[in-house]
Amino acid sequence: MKKIAALLSLLVLCGGYNACFAKEERTVVTFWQLSVKEDVMRSMIKEFEKDNPDIKVDVQILAWDFGFDKIVTSIAAGNAPDLCELGSTWVPTFATGGALADVTGSLSGIKDKYIFWEPLTYQERLFGAPWLVGTRALFYNKDLFRKAGLDPETPPGTWAELLEYSRKIEALGGGVHGFGIYVGEPYTPWQLFLPFAWSNGAEVLSPDFKKPLIDSPEFMEALYFYDLLKKYSVKDRQAQVNQAFAEGKVGMQISGEWNLMLIPQNNPGLDYGVALVPRPYIGKGEPVSFAGGEVLVIFKQSKHQQQAEKLMKFLIREDNIMKVVKSQKNVLPSSKESIKDPYFREQHKQRVFFEQMLAARAAPGHPAWQKIEEDLTRAIEEVVLLNAEPKAAIDKAAARITKVLAVKKSKAALSDRAVYSLFAAVIFLIAAAGYIWQRLKGAAGPRKEKFRFKKAAGAYLFISPWLVIFTVFGLFPLIHSVIISFSDYNLIESSFSFVGLANYFNVLADPNFHKALWHTIFFAVGTVPFTTAIALFCALLINRKVPFKQLYQAGLFLPVVTSVIVIASIFSYIYSPDGLLNSFIDKLRIPAGGGSYLQLLHRPEPSWLLNTALALPCIMAMCVWSSFGYYTILFLAGLQSISSETYEASSIDGATWWGQFRYIILPQLKPIMLFIVVINSIRSFQVFPEVFAMTQGGPLGSTTTVVYYLYELGFHKFDMGTASAVGYILFLFIMGFTLIQLKIFKFGESVG
């Protein structure tokens, strides 16, 4: 592999450009971070560079969208930064993967001054420094408290009160809910629920991480309580609940500091309070909350560990942390001393958060926590969304978690010779595909004429730009990723060993993959015909002699420039429990004086996007709606090649509208139609951003498509080998599907 890379790099370097870095006397330390605003960070770095003239800090602000993916990709390519911000839940995975440097020695002197060490500790060594932390506290709407006859200055202190207050606020009606429970996404459901269990003295895992303890009476009590609370709660994704709370539609929510910013931005007039989370009973249990945070880690790959440590210590200095806290206003400091800062005297709500932080816990530091949290979320969603019996749901989850805990990572190492055999296999596969293709084609029609060499040379010259670019930037990554798909390749550990077809077999045997594949097929089959039909219909309409053609053209195409987030947010609103669709249904049902079939329409439970049967069709409807305009324009362009004489001639011949369509338009449009169907199918099979923005694969995995499954595997579970195998299985699948389509359209033979 390395040889090929070197050869290639040599080739391309001959062409000429190399990012050349001017030689500098100072050591350059790269630092990647996500949390702190650019100007605040730069001013701190300036100060650091002044104190340390021998160090230059190259700080990069990553975006939250895919910021994590960038870190992972860079580690895999050996290009990791020296110092990096990381979410605390990732630390165990990175630490066990051997990606992080041990910083126990350099932090030993200052350890007592900070909190939030648990997630950073692995086998009694420290793998990072706590930086900015966050927790969840109880938000309550004082106006709704007043309306429900509750004292707006006494938030609920116990579970019984929380339940009672929620009931009273829910009883107000008018779309107002008592409490907010998070479901329908991977992380928040367990983050909201676990503190209830912790408060009651329950644990998820035994201290030695050998077995799950979630079937303990304490844990079950919390879940039964949750089951009661759900009756008076809005069940939605966290962002939606936060939004609803800000708009004054939810009585209470347990959420993070960011709401202190969100509420004034979205509804400055809201009168609300912040309090510690309730405890189980008076005099029993603690008001434990969930703690998360951003920590600073140094990668083992770093060549400037000492300098990076210096920068790390500088950034976690109490005054620097407070600078960030004051400018961000949505995080808390990890330094204990900061409680004395005047900021917390003035900002009462922030102070509540700080107090809550002292009684907050982080997720257990098990390296496979990413899998365990999935099982917890599933159990909680089963109880909240499907009304499953709590005990049954927990027993199932316990069985799954036991399995996860039992897995020992085994390394099946294969010799590097396998690389070459794999190359051979790849080439063989391509040749085989080509042969099959020729046979298919040969059967389809008569052989074409013999080639002339000169003519062929000209043809090759014409395709040479693609050929060159594809060979370098298409084929090379492609073969690289095929090889990855045959190996056990962990992005974090950068460990690489050949396992042959094991990844493919594992994927094909995974029931989750079957589900994802089924969802994907359902998605493609359910959207492509609709999109194509609507697009063709609209194109035919616009192509008639109607006024304002360009207006429709622009109107249909321009939604494509609107980003997926906007469209997803609008549709989330349409589908939300109090959204457009439900109120429309309500309106329809009102005039029914008798046995109207409209009476059959119901608001789905619990809501459109949280219903496991409806979530995927909802996303499909959104995709059809947001993409048909684009294909309309393609059809419209295709229609332009039909000359007006053809139409006129056929009109004179007395052809009907259908006749014209069937015998003139359709045959002429065939090549473009083929293009649209093929491209639309490929895109549907690869659907990802829409799912990511709408449901993140939930609820209960009912919208997990193949590419989403792949993304989770590769970039959250770091199993790039299996993820690549998924990619190529999908590739073969799409290829088969496309070949069938080409066959139907009699590719190559039909026109010209």
Partner: protein, 394 residues
């Protein structure tokens, strides 16, 4: 000529098209509308902020301090530039010489006299409206106005009666755009995005036409397999190629360069496929005529095929420009410095983890969308150019 039914049908079709167009334009409209809101979300608009509703109704007695001694203040914590006017109810009592003012985080303030806005004859409750523009904000940090304060204009004593202090938000404001644009070197981001998009768009129009023409009209060994490779390369999920692509760029030293963002995108398979399909729908007569007239293959391509393919090329142009202008993942992965950031990468920094600041986010989205809309409007007349008819008649 046109029969009555035809006219009727055309009316129906026009009406249907107007409805469909309106429906599809909703998100774009919401995006722009939210971007000029002062406060609120995609679905909710906020029009005012009540600073203090009951504080001064019963009256706050005050004794003679000096000029400008603060009698009452209410917490605001807002960017004052978003507001159009300050409104409250006021009852004159004793001293009419009162001043309302804004105080920023550092304690700097700006006051205006209430009497200027009051009806001098009235002695009962009356509504006072002070335009925000009347406050002298020059010395203040207008982004962080911490308090609204009432002070006495002259040494006097009396009782202060006021009620319902409300700040009205501007109906339409460009402040979100201004905030976004000053948050980073957006000139540079624009430049990067523009250069990259320009090269990729023109590269695709020329190269893809060549490749597509060859695939549509010529015969050469391996044609079908190569073409299948083109379609096949669209079928691989891009997530699988991320890591290999990154390590390739690292190995050839192209990280953080324009090359890495431009060169691989110069021959998009999508465009080749589209153009090939389009060229196939064109009548061959013209090309054959040109060849008989002694034109070589290049002339046929550039003089005959490309002009005839304007509708498809317009789509290639719009599509490629839009794609390269909006592309986020590769520029984000492959660049490391502020100077190399493209517009979407710069704007992505505007999103924070949990809270969504809709007005600013929509302003950022609009900033990316506007150039694409302009390009579309420029290219769109070629889509229904109807050149073929004219050309064939000749």
């Amino acid at each position: 000529m046109a029969r009555r039914e035809d006219i009727k049908l055309n009316y129906t079709i026009t009406a249907a098209l107007v409805v469909i167009t309106a429906l599809t334009l909703i998100p774009l409209f919401i995006m722009f509308y939210t971007s000029v809101k002062a406060e609120g979300t995609l679905t909710k608009k906020v029009s005012e902020i009540v600073v203090a509703s009951e504080a001064g109704h019963a009256g706050i007695p005050f004794t003679a301090g000096g000029k400008g001694s603060v009698i009452w203040s209410g917490r605001l914590n807002q960017d004052i530039r978003k507001f159009s006017r300050l409104e409250f109810m006021w009852k004159p009592d004793g001293s009419r010489d009162l001043e309302f003012g804004l105080v920023d985080a550092l304690g700097r303030s700006s006051f205006v006299a209430v009497s200027k806005y009051a009806d001098a004859k009235k002695t009962d409750w009356q509504k006072i409206t002070i335009p925000v523009g009347d406050f002298d904000l020059k010395g203040l940090d207008a982004r962080n106005i911490e308090d609204i304060a009432v002070a006495s204009g002259a040494p006097a004593s009396g009782t202060l009666y006021f009620d319902g202090v409300t700040l009205r938000l501007k109906k339409v404001t460009l402040i979100n755009y201004a905030d976004v644009l000053v948050s980073g070197p957006f000139g540079r981001y624009f430049f990067n995005s523009f250069i990259i998009s320009l090269f990729i768009t023109f590269g695709n129009i020329i190269f893809c036409s060549m490749v597509a023409y060859s695939f549509a009209r010529k015969e050469f060994p391996g044609k079908d397999i190569l073409f299948l490779l083109i379609i096949g390369s669209i079928m691989i999920p891009p997530q699988v190629l991320m890591v290999p692509m990154f390590s390739l760029m690292k190995n050839i030293g192209w990280l953080n360069t324009y090359w890495a963002l431009i060169i691989p995108a110069l021959t998009e398979p999508f465009n080749i496929f589209l153009l090939r399909q389009y060229i196939k729908t064109l009548p061959k007569d013209l090309e054959e005529a040109a060849l008989i007239d002694g034109a070589n293959e290049w002339q046929v391509l550039f003089r005959v095929v490309i002009p005839l393919s304007k509708p498809a090329l317009a789509i290639v142009g719009i599509n490629t420009f839009m794609g390269s202008w909006n592309t986020f993942l590769y520029p984000f992965l492959l660049t490391n410095t502020t100077e190399m950031r493209t517009l979407p990468v710069g704007l992505a920094l505007y999103k924070s983890l949990y809270s969504v600041d809709w007005t600013h986010l929509m302003a950022a989205s609009s900033i990316t969308a506007i150039p694409v809309i302009i390009v579309f409007l420029c290219f769109q007349r070629y889509i229904i150019a109807g050149l073929t008819q004219g050309a064939l008649k000749g």
